[in-house]
Assembly symmetry: C2
DNA sequence: TGCAAGCATCATTATTATTGATACCGAAAT
DNA sequence: ATTTCGGTATCAATAATAATGATGCTTGCA
């Protein structure tokens, strides 16, 4: 049994299809078939059920896949750790919730690239829970998410407290009538949306006059044009204050936390440490 | 990088000598040299210093070897877990301190073999600290040791409280004069010896009139012949009471604990669980 | 009945690992 | 100084293994 066998195995397990796994791995189907059969023979048991439309893991296969993931993660970490130089370098994958990408966060990124040109930084954006999954799955070194997350595998560091405001178009004058307002929101799971829901519920206002946006840019565009209002950190409006009206909301719902999360058991590369330090410093200003 | 590369790497690291590692692995030296060089090239850094009399790990090599061990342990565990059948089977390596091997422990072993013939049991004996090391090193599934051990990687289960007695030959009559007694002891590190030392110190008796035995059998033989006295659990004398005199010692030094230790993070096979259950039950009687 | 999608098989080829012979290197012995 | 010894490195030849491409087999579905 070799690490490459585990990679092949996991590819099949994820694709639930040998042909697709072969394609993904850049091999030919017969090869992948042969390898997985060899592995099964070596273990003396089937890892997959074969059905006409693909394959699926047996119980033992499920168990084995957990081990396989751990083993491969560990082997990657070993290589990374040992290759690491004194100066931050190598790949660094960071997740950022959409709402943060609008901040002067971008400036900080540029600064990071300038200081540490040997780090190849890749930024993923997504919802907090997407990013959470990716961090737990070793697909990201760390992520900036909104809200508190509690997992035995994570550590999180508070980066910044954001102040949510009720944002409207500047065409509308003054604090709107909540019950008559149409709301622009992110898909379910977004902490801003949850805060909005909680607030409106406490005001006794129903929450069905909503439009959902998967992209924050579009959402903001919609608010700017006066189609709807929303709840966002004022900082997201990126200085374009003249186009918007911004109103405080009750203190109970006003604050959200941006946290940097990472896996407890994952080795923090020099690049990661440098990155998180730079972010914390720049946020503190 | 493959698991076999890690095995080659670790063999060299342990032997500190490529030729010996090759021999141990059943390869020819040039092959092992080539493989390790290929691995080093892949990592882009040397794992070993070469000197005229062999090789030694670089700093990075030390780091890498820690990962390599973990990865290989995990991969072995993966195979073992997945191969495991409903009924206990497979290899089971247990360590037992010398002093326990004399008990009716052997009967329990025989019973275990009878009940679970598919388990290939191997018993290692040694001192408590030897066994401790082997358990931590994944060389043993578990071990019976005397005394309390505290390691974040271990869990231990109390099996039995042993009562230490002052053992003399039946030739000598009555409680001996401690200051005139010659003592037969196990090598340093044995908990019985430590207890004896502590007791004698508290009595103000010096502890230099000693003979060391590496084998408990020989030690007991020596005591039987009247050459020396010692401190042992009465149970060790194996029913041969007529040949010995046995005297209680102060309560403070009288008791030792036999514990079953195992690694916290190690998967407990069905065989191990069955074994430890059988032992606990048989001790409870 | 005839696809189409998917896994299995197999002969062939490409790649990689292993060997065995030999070169090399430094330390210790002569 | 020279040899010898215990070790690693190199390299051409060979053995073993992995990958390919073509084809066969099964099943669900139209």
């Amino acid at each position: 049994m070799e690490l490459s066998d585990l990679k092949v195995f996991l590819a099949i397990a994820e694709e639930r299809n040998i042909s697709r796994a072969a394609e993904r791995l850049g091999y030919v189907q017969s090869n992948v078939t042969a390898r997985i059969r060899k592995l099964e023979e070596e273990l003396g048991l089937p890892l997959f059920y074969r059905h006409p439309k693909g394959v699926s893991l047996t119980d033992k296969g499920v168990t084995f896949s957990e081990y396989a993931k751990n083993i491969l993660n560990l082997s990657e970490e070993a290589v990374q750790v040992v290759k690491e130089t004194e100066f931050p370098s190598g790949p660094l994958a960071i997740g950022v919730v959409d709402s943060v990408t609008c901040l002067d966060f971008m400036d900080t990124l540029a600064e990071f690239q300038r200081r540490y040109p040997d780090v190849s930084l890749s930024i993923w954006s997504g919802t907090s829970s997407d990013l959470l999954t990716k961090v737990l799955d070793h697909q990201l070194d760390g992520a900036f998410v909104i809200g508190e997350f509690d997992s035995p595998h994570l550590v999180s560091e508070h980066i910044q407290r954001e102040e949510l405001t009720l944002v409207t178009s500047s065409h509308m004058r003054g604090f709107p009538d909540l019950s008559l307002t149409r709301w622009a929101v992110s898909p379910a799971g977004c902490p801003f949306r949850r805060a909005l829901e909680a607030w409106l519920r406490s005001e006794g206002v129903s929450f069905d006059n909503i439009i959902e946006f998967s992209s924050l840019e579009t959402l903001i565009g919609c608010v700017r044009s006066g189609l709807a209002a929303t709840l966002l950190p004022a900082s997201v409006l990126a200085g374009d204050y003249s186009a918007f009206g911004s109103f405080p909301i009750p203190e109970q719902y006003r604050y959200t936390q941006t946290c940097l999360i990472r896996r407890k058991d994952r080795y923090s590369s020099k690049a990661f440490v440098a990155f998180s330090k730079l972010i914390v410093d720049s946020m503190a200003v």
